[in-house]
């Protein structure tokens, strides 16, 4: 188990290294220099040169990367142009809010999708299965701003039962906070539900058809025991890895959902940074998101190992 986690952490470090190179490369090596992007196409050339020198963008790439990485490691993520403030604390603050949103989303999504997947698989081809499969197919493929728009129109405007902005007024009680979160969380859940549901359903169907399930059934165990004790754990294995990958979609979804519902999280921040060419902020947000995403994947891997004795005990145990 320890060896497995160790390997995964190493892999995580490698992933982050590649990610940092990628972020750095995109922001520093792509055609078009940084100062030109910041100052715009009509700025005089000497201003561009001066800013480039100020930013250190005229020195060798490797040196800049090393310096940049050292700074990142020490929490010096540069200053945002637009906010005129240090990037690191700003990103951290926004990240916290986003985690609340994302966490609520996952808390609703995972049990819901798994329960529906299991129920649908147990009655494969039944009414529940067919309706849910069709609906999830339709809804799950919709971009979140489209579902978001529909949700706002129906619940926020025509029925007028829910607030359409995610951020509650200052000093609001927990109930109000929750009410403000319903639509954006619903939007995230709709985005992710289909994939997770279908994955659970598929692996559940596979596990139900497996030889060990036949063994359990022919032992005379009641269907409840067969499903809970023998099928579910095996069926959840592929699902768990999918949850890991889903976190990526969740983060992407945050950008849109936060923008649509005007929620000051990291998603709307990175969108702001991108549209306003605030490069240090953009890089900071990307770093933070990548880190959280990689951690999420690590968590999924560890959970997978906990469920799977084969991974837990290492491959060579005999």
């Amino acid at each position: 188990m320890l060896r497995f986690v160790g390997r995964r952490v190493l892999l995580l470090a490698f992933t982050l290294a590649v990610a940092s190179v990628l972020i750095f490369a995109i922001t520093n090596v792509l055609p078009g220099d940084v100062a030109r992007i910041i100052l715009g196409p009509f700025a005089p050339q000497d201003a561009v040169t001066r800013l480039n020198a100020e930013l250190g963008a005229d020195r060798p790439v490797v040196v800049r990367y090393a310096e940049w990485l050292a700074g990142v490691a020490q929490g010096d993520w540069g200053r945002s142009y637009a906010f005129s403030t240090a990037v690191f604390p700003l990103v951290l603050e926004r990240l916290g809010r986003s985690l609340l949103l994302a966490g609520s989303g996952l808390a609703v999504l995972v049990p819901l999708a798994i329960a529906s997947g299991v129920a649908a698989a147990r009655r494969e081809g039944g009414l529940f299965d067919r309706v849910l499969s069709t609906v999830s197919l339709a809804v799950g493929a919709l971009p979140e701003f489209v579902t978001g728009v529909f949700l706002i129109l129906v619940f926020g405007i025509w029925l007028a039962v829910l607030p359409i902005q995610a951020l509650p007024p200052d000093g609001a009680g927990p109930l109000t906070v929750a009410a403000h979160l319903v639509l954006p969380v619903g939007c995230l859940v709709l985005l992710l539900f289909a994939y997770l549901f279908r994955m659970t359903r598929a692996s559940m169907i596979e596990a139900l058809a497996a030889d060990y399930t036949r063994t359990a059934t022919l032992k005379g165990l009641p269907p409840r025991t067969v499903v809970w004790r023998h099928v579910l754990r095996n069926a959840l294995l592929p699902t768990v890895t999918v949850i890991g990958a889903q976190i990526g979609w969740l983060v992407g979804g945050l950008v849109v959902v936060e923008t649509l519902f005007k929620y000051p999280g990291i998603g709307s921040l990175i969108h702001f940074a991108a549209t306003n060419k605030d490069i240090p902020l953009l890089v900071g947000c990307s770093l933070a998101i990548t880190f959280v995403f990689a951690l999420g994947n690590l968590a999924a891997d560890v959970l997978y190992a906990v469920l799977n004795p084969r991974v837990r005990h290492g491959r060579n145990a005999h």
């Binding site: 698989a121 493929a141 701003f145 489209v146 728009v149 129109l153 990526g248 950008v255 649509l260 953009l282």
Partner: protein, 284 residues
């Protein structure tokens, strides 16, 4: 399942007309997409108004006989804009998917066939690239490359390539271990021959299925990039862009958001339906 399995007595369901599995959703999905392809191509002749024509006398009007989908805050006819608005998504998505498929198939075949360190290195790097949420990666790249149709195609294609490569690699690995590949090696066939002639035809099924699924996500991603202002730029009529431009009017003129959103929903659902049908058809 456990319940029905004990029941060998239940009579069979007999169907008189049984077309091949999946053909019906496939046909419906294709038809639904073709409607919009036709509309986008024919928009210059079909649309009642030029999409960018501003009419200050008809600002933010609700749907009427004159303006079927209403007008926006500049008085532009929403129906005309929605009819034109599919063009970009319907160009970008297939082009980007094709790019991703070609790249992904090549990477997948090479890693699966050569294995060992080539596979290890390429897959680790792809894993790391995939560790970025797609939208973030696309956003970063487009900020620096500059928005525009070509760049959007390039970025989505590049982002999809690792995902497709993974599917192709998994399928090709299974095939590469089979004995007919060893027979080819015994004849001394070159790597290119084995990849192109022996392996590729046998991973075609998963490749096509993955392609249609990716096509759906390409529509999804390009619309989202449009919404985020990273795709085509105003005043070009684009569904995603229209939703974001008119977002502020949600409470006062909801039709300006509703119809472009419906357009996206239509196309995405249609492709999803077709992909599902195709999967059923190819992998019964």
């Amino acid at each position: 399942m456990a319940e029905t399995l004990i029941d060998g007595r239940r009579g069979p369901r007999r169907r008189r007309f049984a077309p091949a599995r999946g053909t019906i959703p496939l046909a419906i999905g294709l038809a639904m997409v073709l409607v919009w392809v036709a509309t986008a191509i024919g928009a210059p002749w079909l649309a009642p108004y030029p999409p960018a024509e501003i009419d200050f006398l008809a600002i933010s009007q609700p749907p009427s006989a004159l303006h079927w989908f209403g007008t926006d805050q500049l008085g532009r006819d929403m129906a005309s804009r929605v009819m034109h608005g599919g063009t970009y998504v319907l160009t970008i998505a297939p082009a980007a998917t094709l790019l991703g498929l070609v790249l992904g198939a090549a990477i997948g075949l090479v890693t699966a066939w050569f294995g060992s360190w080539v596979d290890e290195v390429v897959m680790r790097v792809l894993d790391a690239v995939m560790a970025f949420p797609i939208v973030i990666l696309a956003m970063l790249a487009l900020t620096f490359l500059g928005a525009g149709t070509g760049n959007v195609i390039l970025v989505i294609g590049l982002v999809f390539a690792p995902l497709i490569a993974r599917t192709v690699r998994a399928a090709a690995l299974v095939e590469a271990r089979k004995e007919y590949i060893q027979a080819a090696q015994l004849r001394g066939e070159g790597s290119l021959y084995i990849m192109a002639v022996e392996l590729l035809p046998n991973v075609r099924g998963p490749l096509i299925v993955e392609g249609t699924v990716r096509l759906g996500y390409a529509v999804f991603t390009s619309a989202t990039l449009g919404f985020l202002g990273l795709g085509v730029q105003p005043p070009t009529p684009d569904w995603g862009l229209m939703v974001s431009e008119n977002q502020a009017l949600l409470t006062t003129a909801p039709w300006t958001v509703l119809f472009p959103a419906l357009g996206i929903a239509w196309v995405v659902v249609a492709i999803g339906l077709a992909a599902d049908g195709l999967k059923e058809y190819l992998e019964p």
